[in-house]
């Protein structure tokens, strides 16, 4: 599903989201409210410049649309892999984007993320994973890294990783695993507008992901470890 079809399914024709060089921006009417929509398309690589473009959009929302909910539509291949982006400080640009989203939440903007196509690694950490909650379409792809590259970097046999990927949520790339591990709040099936409605109504205020991971069995130790530190002498 491309972003146009997605916006039509969510908002009908009551939106003005447009694409400008892989950046999606606009507003939408939904259940009597206006939402700000921000995202990427074309499996955008998030470089220094794209991180800033997204941050600008978030800051504009904070400055000009107080209290408005932000919906992040995510389709990214992850961070741009260029020496020049590292030279300029892409890590700082991404931290800036993440800080902007975090500030929006603290200033009363609800932030909801939806992975509608791909979400890899760094491109995902500073957007969807910093929202109040992140959801995904059932056939979206979420990964840290594709298996051949992971095999190269870890020096583990690709066959071993592939075998583990079948059943082990830690490696398996499917969105079901992110759901089980608490990284996603839900998968949107069927009527997408209804799913958005439900998701907005259920947006948490605290970071529930470790709890969800424990309850769903995908991450058994995270929440318990956090609690043990809180309880330690």
């Amino acid at each position: 599903m491309n972003w146009r079809e997605l916006c039509r399914a969510l908002f009908g024709d009551r939106h003005d989201v447009t694409e400008d060089d892989e950046l999606l921006r606009g507003s939408a009417h939904f259940d009597g409210d206006l939402l700000d929509v921000l995202g990427t398309t074309g499996h955008a690589a998030i470089g220094y410049a794209m991180a800033l473009r997204q941050a600008r959009a978030v800051l504009d929302t904070i400055a000009t649309h107080p209290g408005r909910t932000i919906v992040l539509l995510i389709d990214t291949q992850g961070q741009r892999l260029r020496r020049h982006d590292e030279l300029l400080g892409i890590h700082r640009a991404m931290a800036h984007l993440g800080s902007a989203i975090d500030l929006a939440r603290r200033r009363g903007h609800r932030v909801l993320g939806l992975v509608y196509d791909q979400a890899l690694s760094g491109g995902f950490i500073t957007t969807g994973l910093l929202a109040d909650a992140c959801h995904a379409l059932p056939n979206a792809e979420i990964r840290v890294m594709r298996l051949p590259a992971m095999a190269r970097v870890t020096k583990l046999p690709q066959e071993l990783l592939e075998r583990l990927s079948v059943a082990n949520p830690v490696f398996a790339p499917g969105v079901e695993n992110y759901l089980r591990m608490g990284g996603l709040a839900s998968l949107w099936q069927g009527d997408l507008a209804q799913a958005l409605r439900r998701s907005l109504a259920e947006l948490p205020t605290e970071d529930r992901r470790a709890q969800d991971g424990a309850e769903r069995g995908g991450r058994r130790l995270a929440a318990a470890t956090v609690q043990r530190i809180l309880d330690a002498a």
């Binding site: 220094y48 904070i62 400080g89 890590h91 993440g98 800080s99 840290v144 330690a232």
Partner: protein, 301 residues
């Protein structure tokens, strides 16, 4: 009076625990979930890897010049300092405890390649939980100070996390960036980034470059006591995350992009910052660079 040279202990060569022992007030470190409690990774054995008793990070409370701090130190030698499920949860626990117990500051001795790939999805989610928890600490009024000086640098998701801190101290040995040179070379070829060209790697991601650009707040020698002094100075340097602050950051980062849009390399960037002999920067002492930056800041002020 004879002058004895003081012994310098290399921060880069110390383990995480040695850094804690030497940097914090002697004997003040009280560890939560110490090694004997064996809170280890459940994911490594199936990959044929041994775990570590502390999953590569020690967290606890301590004193620094008598001030209360909560601290975490990542062990770069274990899995490259990568963040896995338990490691990340220890960081989150320390940060959440800081919001509850309100020490004077939070100190993060960061040395990490980012997400521990061996724990894939769990590591990715964990890093974002650390980021949120760190921003919660800042929002509740305590400074977060990050020290970067290990041989592995601070990369990946941890590179982003570290850049969310109030204050960053780096040594010239340290590196702070997003993607490691090997990853970029694997993707874009050696012409894009020759990972074996150490000089290129350090002028792209190393402490001197970051300091000249303004990405870190203090540049110190590879010396544990220098890090201690710098961390102490940082304890009161909070930077509230307000809309005004973020707009200023946005202007700064945008200007940087405009000034370097032509793919200028590090030497050219430094020249544009006003350094007349940029090729000398790699050989200049940390002290000389500090003096130069301080004089520039006076000019601008």
């Amino acid at each position: 009076m004879s002058l004895r040279p003081t012994t310098v202990t290399s921060y880069a060569e110390c383990s995480a625990r040695q850094r804690l022992a030497l940097l914090l007030d002697a004997g003040s470190f009280h560890e939560w979930l110490p090694p004997a409690e064996r809170v280890t990774s459940p994911h490594l054995a199936q990959l044929g890897l041994p775990c570590a008793f502390d999953d590569g990070v020690a967290v606890g409370r301590a004193a620094l010049e008598g001030r209360s701090v909560f601290v975490a130190a990542q062990e770069g030698a274990f899995m490259g300092g990568g963040v896995g499920e338990v490691h990340g949860a220890k960081l989150v626990g320390m940060l959440r405890r800081a919001v509850r117990d309100r020490p004077d500051a939070v100190l993060l001795l960061a040395e990490s390649g980012g997400v521990r790939l061996h724990e894939g999805n769990a590591g990715l989610i964990a890093v974002s939980e650390v980021m949120r928890a760190l921003l919660d600490v800042r929002a509740s009024g305590m400074p977060v100070v990050v020290l970067i000086g290990g041989a592995n640098g601070c990369f990946g998701g941890m590179g982003i996390v570290a850049a969310c801190a109030d204050h960053i101290v780096m040594s010239d040995v340290g590196r702070h960036a997003m993607s490691g040179p090997e990853v970029i070379e694997a993707s874009g070829g050696v012409e894009e980034f020759d990972a074996r060209d150490r000089s290129l790697v350090w002028r792209t991601t190393g402490g001197k470059h970051r300091y000249l650009l303004g990405d870190c707040d203090q540049l110190v020698d590879d010396d544990v006591q220098a890090f201690r002094a710098a961390a102490t100075r940082a304890l009161d340097q909070r930077r509230p995350l307000t809309l005004t602050a973020l707009e200023a950051e946005h202007r700064l980062l945008s200007a940087r992009l405009a000034a370097a849009h032509d793919e200028a390399d590090a030497f050219e960037l430094w020249r544009r910052l006003g350094i007349t002999h940029p090729e000398q920067v790699p050989d200049r002492s940390v002290r000389d660079i500090g003096v130069w930056v301080a004089s520039r800041r006076k000019e601008v002020a």
